[in-house]
Symmetry: C2
DNA sequence: CGCCAATACTTGAGGTGTCAAATACAAATG
DNA sequence: CATTTGTATTTGACACCTCAAGTATTGGCG
């Protein structure tokens, strides 16, 4: 109701360093939340479909996908590396798949510490069915973006990933 | 060894639909894997730091973050919605936080089915300490991108997310 | 040969996550 | 007011996932 205007807060023409930092922090935070929610949504859709269509899970699917490209089988440790999960985890998932007959463990002749894991023919057949559908799901989920946009997104994520991985120093030397 | 050239497979000047579809599928798949690995890397870095610096976890942090913006407290169901996880999960995380005295459950006077969850003053203090560091971590992790690039990434992910969420029909109506 | 460190994997405890069934309370209905 | 219906949360069974400790087995070294 007052008529005074002089007391309104001034709008600086040049933003100070602190303000810029604050804005950037905020932008990064929002970006991170969007990245997280985007990935989460897609992942949850895939899990859901894997469950509905094939009564399986993403980690199982991922493990089988690795095995499919390695007809000679993979060591547990190799699976662990490729799936970027711990060895104990691989043990558990492999147990489940083995119980369902989709996969077999074969003790290495030369070094009996080693377990070589292979797809059974049943597992291979089942995986091929799943892989085809899976690829289509992904294509559909990403169909909102043009090839050009996909390339752009790929590049931006590439830079981000490189920086994140590159700065992995300083934890426990 | 033959000198005949006519039998070489022709290279079409215009790619057929099948080839285009195949390439697009492949691009989508690679993009998805990169998205996944990027998010995973960042998430794992944050988890690691939360563990090292504050001996806590990401879900606990996220729950406390929600409570900080709601001094009157939140119902379990509200937490469930905001964190995008199931109610059972919220129960578990809240149990842990309550055991450590960072959070309290208060039964609603008017409707005794409702549990209102609040940060304790101890929890609030601890959260503020964590939040400041957390924001800095994020800013650092995303510092590889210019503000312009951040904006671009934000927009691309926005389109992707909108499409994914928009196509959520067709499961169980 | 015999011991010992390194390697490959498994096990067990603890925190997340999901779903479906159980519990506790409230509201609507007759 | 008693019964039914609905809502808020918890519980229990599984599946992941990590870390740290345990078990086998190998290969080197005295």
């Amino acid at each position: 109701m007052s008529s005074r205007k002089a007391a309104l807060k001034s709008v600086p023409l040049v933003l100070d360093a602190e303000t810029r930092a604050h804005d950037d922090h905020h932008a990064s935070l929002r970006l991170w939340l969007r990245l997280l929610s985007c990935t989460g949504q897609i992942e949850s859709r895939i899990r859901q479909r894997l469950q509905l269509s094939f009564n399986t899970t993403l980690p199982r699917f991922d493990l089988m996908a690795q095995l499919e490209r390695a007809p000679e089988g993979l060591k547990m440790s190799e699976l662990s590396q490729r799936l970027m999960v711990t060895g104990g985890n691989v043990t558990g998932i492999t147990d489940g798949l083995e119980k369902e007959g989709l996969v077999v463990r074969e003790v290495d002749i030369a070094d009996r510490r080693i377990n070589r894991v292979k797809l059974t023919s049943d597992g291979a057949r089942q995986f091929r069915r799943m892989a085809a559908e899976h690829e289509q799901w992904i294509a559909d989920l990403f169909s909102a973006l043009s090839p050009r946009q996909k390339g752009h997104l790929m590049a931006l994520l590439g830079e981000l990933k490189a920086h994140v991985i590159g700065s992995k120093r300083g934890t426990t030397p």
